[in-house]
Amino acid sequence: MPKPLAPRNPLAPGVFLLRNAGKTLPLVLVIMLAVMLIAGIVSMMNSIPYSIRTIYDYSKRYTGITPRGDPSQTPILRQAVLDESPVKLGRVITCRASEAVVRSIVGKWPFVVVALGQDDMRYYLDQMEVERVEGRLPAPGAAEAIISEPVARNLNLKLGDPLLGPEINDAYSPQEVKIVGIARTDRWLKLTPIEYHQANHFPPIDLLIAFAEDPREQAKLDRWAIERFKGERARVFAYELLDRDTEEMFQILYKILNVVIGTLVVVITFMMGMLMNIYQSQRVQEFGLLQALGYTRRALLKRVLMESVLVVVGGWVLGVGCALLLLNAVKSLLMDPQAFALNPLDPAAYLYSIPAPIAILAAAWYTVWLRFRRFDPVGVVERRLV
């Protein structure tokens, strides 16, 4: 007689789960959706500070210093940088700047238009790791601009479009400043010739941007400048300050996020605890029979725990997979075309999704443990509990 096909251990957790897919799949799906929801919310929230860091990433490459209230301070500040810098300097550029905007998922953000001399502009683009320029550099003194590719995508601009102009409220200039070049780089930038700025923009204040020769030493230069010009008639713009301000700005948001996620975890755990309870109560006959045959409570609890672990881990893995797919789809279909930053691999998003399955597992196990504690198998075999 041929031996029927049978698993080595008929009570292996996988056997029950696979043969009762109709009951176990909804649990897996609920966990999957919970994980996907949490990872999605966190990733989208994190995209805001991530956007700030991405948009203003150019400031990692130089330290900006402006005089406060007194334009005559600029040469003094410049001399101080040249004389006292703790790192070897690549170049200290005197430039002008005006304010424009870029778009983010939470509205418009200010963005600087840097006005540079021709040679400094080449140096600047070089430092921003521009691979090539589509079009050309703005001619000295002309109402022309060069922007980078992310800015073009963000503002939906192309060669020949105006970047600044008399009718553009967020990016005013008395003349229409047309885009003549688009730089291929991941960094965000808007540049115009300094001569045009000097002739058309107010206030007439020269600013400094100081490049460390070695980019790895830029942060050191930033820290030095922050300390050196503290209390003086100068303001320092450094990536470190931006990073710190962003961190502070989002602290409250993260507290709110924690409360939201915490509430979500409690609600989902409560619901899942009830579902698991119903699910396990449908198995009273099975547990009663096995206990009557001689299976210990510990063995049965271990089996239920293993099954719950498989359900929860399966749900989490599927949830993470679906969140990755969803976030990648959102990134490529909605965010990338407008150069909005989103990191589908954001570790925080997946870390935040871990407490929910752990709490669900604990609730499921506790429910079963409570049931077993007062469980009488005789009640089952006598059909009192069935």
Partner: protein, 218 residues
């Protein structure tokens, strides 16, 4: 081998004391077929549960191989039940998601007893239904699967609690006959209210209101 000494079970039912079992002393030897007969509510099943360690006596003791069954930890008692006892209950309880063959294997977890399980299903006339799920079997076939499960591993004692109650008379006789024929050296303790099912018993104990009133030959 298994012995009860003035064993009793009393519980409260809505504030009223109920004596399910009173001072019952019996001894079951290896290979014996002992029938426990009595009307409904006479305490037959309670005595069976006390002897098999499924219930804890409120007085007296149950000895298995000389050891007090209820002095053991829950865990040791459960392990003893799995290792030494086989069970057939009134209702043919099987796990619905396992085949007949897999249900039989439940009696000896972790042991390689596939061939023995198949042999048992074969002698019980279920060779062609080993792969069937319980819902694909008739009531009589399900109870025969339970018999195969109780016989797997040749347990020292098989406890059968009204195993024929959910079957017609002919199927009931078949089940008792199979239990008796294939239990080998194991003892069989069977509870029933139907004296005709105890034709092959070595001894029959009569219970009334939880007390043993008569012990006679089968």
């Amino acid at each position: 081998m298994i012995q009860t000494e003035r064993v009793g079970l009393t519980y409260l039912d809505h504030g009223r004391e109920v004596h399910a079992c009173q001072d019952v002393s019996i001894r079951v030897e290896r290979g014996e077929f002992v029938g426990i007969l009595g009307p409904s509510g006479s305490g037959k099943s309670s005595l069976l549960y006390l002897m098999s360690g499924l219930k804890t006596p409120t007085s007296g003791q149950v000895l298995v191989h000389g050891d007090d069954l209820h002095a053991m930890t829950d865990e040791s008692r459960a392990k003893l039940r799995l290792r030494e006892f086989g069970f057939v209950f009134q209702h043919p309880y099987l796990l619905g998601y396992l085949s007949a063959f897999e249900n039989v294997l439940l009696a000896r977890p972790g042991e390689d007893r596939g061939a023995e399980a198949l042999e048992l299903l074969d002698v019980l006339g279920l060779q062609s239904k080993a792969d069937r799920k319980p819902h694909e079997l008739s009531g009589g076939e399900r109870q025969r699967v339970c018999v195969a499960r109780a016989l797997l591993g040749r347990p020292a004692v098989i406890f059968a609690d009204e195993p024929t109650a959910s079957l017609d008379h002919r199927n009931g006789e078949v089940v008792v006959d199979l239990l008796n024929r294939y239990r080998g050296e194991g003892a069989l303790v069977m509870v029933t209210h139907d004296p005709s099912m105890l034709k092959g018993a070595d001894r029959v104990l009569h219970l009334v209101d939880g007390a043993m009133v008569e012990e006679g030959l089968g």
